[in-house]
Symmetry: C2
Subunit: 339 residues, 2 copies
């Protein structure tokens, strides 16, 4: 039994005594104790693949900020790695894949079986975290959504508009759908492993949804998203966060997600009208945390007023930035919890 199950109850659409809150990228970046563990690990990928250290940084924000959930410290790119495309992570430069997908044969060569086995270090990190959390708060598991993983597997690194990935989606539909299907299968196996290990909620991150047009996203991408969510939702609550996909909000009303995460470009009032049956999550612009305490409190109250009284989970509109003062983030979290 969870001591604090506010987020799970809010996700299920139940009224809660106060608004619960967690923060994307809460595990890492802004906390000095994270940086100490990260330095001990030697590299980002060492930290991701070391279960003890991953568990340690997962729990740090629960202790420090009093957030209402932990989210396992990991990376969305463990999936391409497990499928056969390893990557490196250069500090400040983002991920880089020396090998990318170019031909249908490359897709055929990708692994979709044994994913959970390959990612045993995530399973171990989840086990250690659950053991050490002692049911204080729920543990959130996650994965990248198929389109976002596809972008990296095609382009090999970050990009402003991922025009190469979009070209493949439009001009090589057979290859694109085969690749998306394989990513989907691998993600389902990965999510099932996380559920079996004991996570309480699962969030699917579509970080690059915003570069697609509404038609392509609805036709070519959403069916894969729904395949993953509909596998998970009968077992535990699900959250879908598609950054920049304001155009896809109407379609989200019908998908197997309990919670829809909103980026900071979305007006929560409008989202409530479009998504009356969903719990909403978000959505302060992380840049607001560069402001004064008074500005942060004012913006947080304004945001909460826009979300209104329906089921709601506080969060930022995207990950917190590394140079944000942890005291400002704490102020944001406490302003939500104490209202």
């Amino acid at each position: 039994m969870l001591e604090n199950d506010l987020i799970i109850r809010a996700a299920k659409g139940e009224k809660t005594s106060r608004v619960p809150v967690w923060v994307m990228r809460q595990a890492g970046r802004v906390l000095p104790q994270y940086r100490a563990t990260r330095a001990r690990a030697g590299s980002f990928i060492n930290l991701v693949t070391n279960p003890e250290m991953a568990a340690e940084v997962t729990i740090q924000p629960v202790d420090h900020f009093g957030v209402d959930a932990a989210i396992i410290f990991s990376d969305i790119l463990v999936i391409p790695e497990a499928m056969g495309l390893p990557y490196t992570m250069d500090e400040g430069k983002g991920p880089f894949f020396p090998k990318v997908i170019e031909h249908l044969d490359d897709v055929k060569a990708l692994q979709t079986e044994g994913i959970a086995n390959h990612l045993h270090y995530v399973k171990e990190a989840l086990e250690i975290t659950l053991d050490q959390l002692q049911n204080r708060v729920p543990l959130i598991g996650f994965a990248g959504a198929p389109w976002t993983i596809f972008c990296y597997m095609i382009e090999g690194k970050g990009s402003k508009e991922f025009s190469k990935a979009r070209r493949v989606l439009v001009s090589q539909p057979e290859l694109a759908q085969a690749l998306l299907e394989k990513i989907t299968m691998a993600t389902i196996e990965y999510a099932q492993m996380q559920i079996n290990t004991g996570i309480h909620l699962f969030q699917l991150f579509d970080s690059w949804a915003g570069v697609l047009n509404a038609d392509l996203y609805a036709r070519c991408i959403m069916p894969h998203v729904e395949k993953i969510l509909s596998h998970i939702q009968p077992q535990i609550p699900t959250t879908f966060f598609a950054k920049g996909a304001h155009f896809a909000l109407p379609q989200m009303q019908t998908i197997s997600a309990n919670v829809i995460g909103l980026d900071w470009s979305i007006n929560p009032k409008m989202a409530r009208e479009i998504l009356p049956n969903k719990t909403l999550q978000g959505n302060l612009d992380p840049a607001v945390l560069y402001g004064t305490d008074a500005e942060i409190i004012k913006s947080t109250h304004e945001m909460m007023d826009k979300f209104g009284n329906a089921p709601y989970i506080g969060n930022l509109g995207h990950g917190v930035y590394p140079d944000i003062d942890p005291n400002k983030l704490k102020l944001y979290i406490e302003t939500i919890q104490n209202r």
Copy 2:
């Protein structure tokens, strides 16, 4: 007297016999004749600063594609350069400013007078272009909007979310507003020079509007945009294109722009409802041009149906990509013109 003034009449809200069209980045990138001129120039910046060659590539798409307007070949970053921050342009890597704005003294040191004089090469390029175009189609002038120029002057290069520029906007409001004000003044002088030289329409590009939240954009940025547009509009028609700023559409109804450019994430039907008094421009996803001819024609017709019968200028939702087949772009343009 212009032979073809369809775009000007559409911009003024008049009905036209057919939908006129031009394309962002039509001057350059996809045409072999552009690449030949670019190779002769030796570098991108040489091409921008050479009036004869800039005029040459400005006219190429009018000859090749039969577009209904020319847009002067130049770069939004000539403004920071004229203000005292020179930049380099690395092929495939984008712009880089060795010196950026860090302190209020850096802002005070920026030039805002003599901008038109410094940018005499743009004036000469406009004069040559107007002379050679012989009134076949209108000539569009342009500049970057203050927020987009601000982003480059603070960060010195492209960025995914421009979090450093957003931090300055939030945490150093005095510096930020002083810088935005200086950029605005320089842009007004630059636009006035373009008007005096004979351009027929002016477009302001806010390429990075999409990283801001609605409140910051409305409070801190739009007043500067309006200052520029309201200076120009009494003289010639104006277009405002703010990429990713779906959240700012309602405010655009009240600004001094005849035309609102839409990126491909915006549903034109929705934009018509929000902006009943504006001419709209856009907005096919350039990635659709990676598809088959049949797909391009179908998507173009669907787009035009969504725009309906009110005043409308065909364009893409952002610049065309360098690896798009020029014949596909030509098909798009002709599909609009022949409907």
